[in-house]
Symmetry: C2
Subunit: 433 residues, 2 copies
């Protein structure tokens, strides 16, 4: 069969991994694709830069145009990252009659609709498995394997940097700063880790998953997100005492055609599959109305795991599956589903609450009264002696609530923080079932 | 678009689930398939039997012929089970110009080559996601999502009955007999559970996975399998003391184009993803050379989880993806890969060994000498006082070895069991990394 001609746009970490697979295993990939996959051009910013792959000299170029006009190239693989330039390159690729594979989550989370409409207008296809969860086939699971189901909920550990930091804090007793430094030393965190640790990266991935699983087009700004930078060791400690660990979860729940979604540190019960996801690994738990609970686990980032997902998309394009999926699903189309977003204040969940309180009688009664006023009942309480002389006479009062409406809990919290016996703002996290 | 006409062959537990999805959610499924999925006929043995789904009277039939000759039916969904009749029905379906979806693991494990060759001869396609792992999309993961990889190893908890029994034994202190009874009461085990508990069912599934992941056609008789019926509580107890639990694993490891595979109870380290798979759940850990470790988890059996996988295949057929996958992969073709089977005696692993020994000095020295003669070194030893007066002066000596060749370990074991100080046959299990 005729080979599939491929141009790589960008040859950084992931691009080098994709080039390695294409150049080092041509026979393996041709067998799975039913035709040869030919890397015909690699677009880079700096042709003289050292890379982890040796590129044949004649493939390397610094301009996009020659790939767009080359009829022997049918597929553009966008791994440049960033949003503005990539958006233009992808749309120009469709206009030039090329299909596109991308790993660019920021691009899809912000310009998904425009990108997909351009593909449809030009009768081309786009695949994006590597944009969420690295080597984990979560896009394929949601768009194909679970297609008999109405997805009911999603819970994902979608940021390996955060999971590495939280694992080191909870299992090796490191502080946030120490764990972040360890992540940077191992290459799991950028020099500026802001977009990872503040939850933005996970929110972008959640926006993509919400589109696939629920047909909901949700702007990034509409996804509430809390990060991990202010998580304290004391809460990991009390969490463990209650039988929980803390994970940064991207969550979505469907209820009567309304979807609530957020990114937040969440207390996850020990010895459940999500709690056992350690270090830089990712996992997504998906509940469908027919299949029940399922979970997908693997490395959520890194050169070869992400390249594995990109090349799977390339093979799907070569086989012709990706085009059929693209045409059938009509993702990011104007007429999505009839699912609308519901405020996360309406979500019902249990809460972990730690109030730094004065060490005096009656404190628990005061706090319990504020919770009761919002119809929130208490499941358990931990009240230790002062752990530390330096806390200036305050002690942590830790409460685990029964299921409550998030909005009611926040209203109670506001009142609690105003109590004279509460010495500093309380800390709270939702708890997974 | 034109509807896809479907005949169900068999309407037992899974068939009723598939019929429910097709009849109750036509709009949802049509949206995912890009065309209506029309259930046109349901073939049953007894038309008057009560089912968990209400079938329109005019769909029910007791003979196959009318479906084969009906040009408005393009897809036969074989859920009858069994081997001989199903084999005939599937081959006749191809001959009549129909594609096939099946959940029949026994059929594929024993007649895969004949079935696939018949499909190719008649230019039809077959899909079989539900044949392994129920609702877990392990067939799709291996045949599509991980297609950039050489799969290096597979480890699966593929039998929910066994996993339920082992979970109850290890976490609720039940005996094998009690746990089996609990499984039967909940519908997780058949009245005659032999094929589940002796490892045959898991071996059939492993044969299918070995074909997809490694292109190896392996007859069932060539897969060594041990079951769970002789697992004793004492070994679960000592395993836990060492930091392990026991799971029935179907395992395959590739080494220089040679594949070793077996089904066996294996000690799995606590707090790893496979160890946390409880009750009737299944999971498969797959290691690929690019993607690294991945894991897929969900309900491995049951009406709706399995129906979810069957209907995903039906949708893949309606979209046209399944046909492309079938044509490209050439599974069970005469010219498989160049992977050959390697005797499981060559597999290198650590072992758990429990010897019921006489309570006298020098015993450990005798056993250690036999292990040393086979170049096997000891990682740790547990030697408690006699647990039980009734054991008649014998005590359990528990040894965890370092990595050893399975054949060498078995040779040592034979010598150990001949020692005068060893009062009864020793018990051993391999240990997962």
């Amino acid at each position: 069969m005729e080979p599939l001609g491929i141009a790589l746009i960008g040859c950084g970490t992931v691009g080098s991994g994709v080039a390695r697979l294409l150049l080092e295993y041509p026979e393996r990939l041709a067998a799975r694709a039913g035709r040869p996959l030919l890397l015909r051009r690699v677009l880079v910013r700096d042709a003289r830069k050292n890379r982890t792959v040796t590129l044949p000299h004649e493939l390397v170029t610094t301009e996009l145009r020659s790939s767009l006009t080359d009829p022997s190239i049918q597929l553009m693989v966008e791994l440049a990252g960033g949003v503005d330039w990539a958006r233009r390159a992808v749309i120009d690729s469709f206009a030039a009659g090329k299909d596109v594979v991308t790993a660019n989550k920021a691009l899809l989370a912000t310009h998904g609709q425009e990108i997909f409409e351009a593909a449809r207008r030009h009768h081309r296809a786009i695949a994006f498995e590597a944009s969420v969860g690295g080597g984990i086939p979560i896009v394929a699971a949601l768009s194909q394997s679970l297609s008999a189901n109405q997805i009911v909920s999603l819970q994902g550990i979608l940021n390996g940097t955060c999971n590495f930091i939280l694992t080191n804090m909870s299992e090796h007793g490191q502080s946030y700063a120490e764990a972040l430094q360890a992540a940077q030393q191992r290459g799991y965190a950028e020099a500026d880790p802001t977009l990872d640790v503040d939850g933005t990266d996970a929110a972008q991935k959640l926006a993509i998953l919400a589109q696939i699983a629920f047909g909901l087009r949700v702007p990034l700004s509409a996804i509430e997100h809390r990060g991990i930078a202010d998580i304290q060791e004391i809460d990991l400690h009390f969490g463990r005492e209650l039988g929980y660990t803390i994970k940064l979860l991207a969550e979505a729940w469907l209820n009567e055609q309304q979807l609530a979604l957020h990114v937040s540190p969440v207390l996850v019960r020990l010895h459940t599959p999500l709690a056992e996801v350690r270090g830089p690994y990712n996992a997504v738990k998906v509940v469908g109305d027919a299949v029940g609970d399922t979970l997908y686990y693997g490395q959520g980032a890194g050169q070869m795991p992400t390249a594995s997902a990109v090349v799977a998309d390339i093979i799907d394009m070569a086989v012709g599956r990706a085009q059929k999926t693209f045409q059938t699903l009509r993702l990011w189309s104007g007429n999505g589903g009839d699912v609308t977003q519901r405020p996360s204040s309406t979500v019902r969940t249990r809460f972990y609450l730690r109030c730094p309180v004065l060490d005096q009688p009656g404190v628990l009664a005061d706090i319990a009264r504020e919770l009761a006023q919002q119809q929130i009942s208490i499941a358990s309480v931990i009240q230790h002696e002062a752990l530390d002389e330096e806390q200036g006479g305050t002690v942590p009062l830790v409460i685990m609530t029964h299921t409550a409406r998030t909005g009611d809990f926040r209203a109670a919290l506001e009142q609690i923080n105003r109590l004279g016996c509460v010495a500093a703002p309380s800390v709270y996290y939702p708890m997974a079932e």
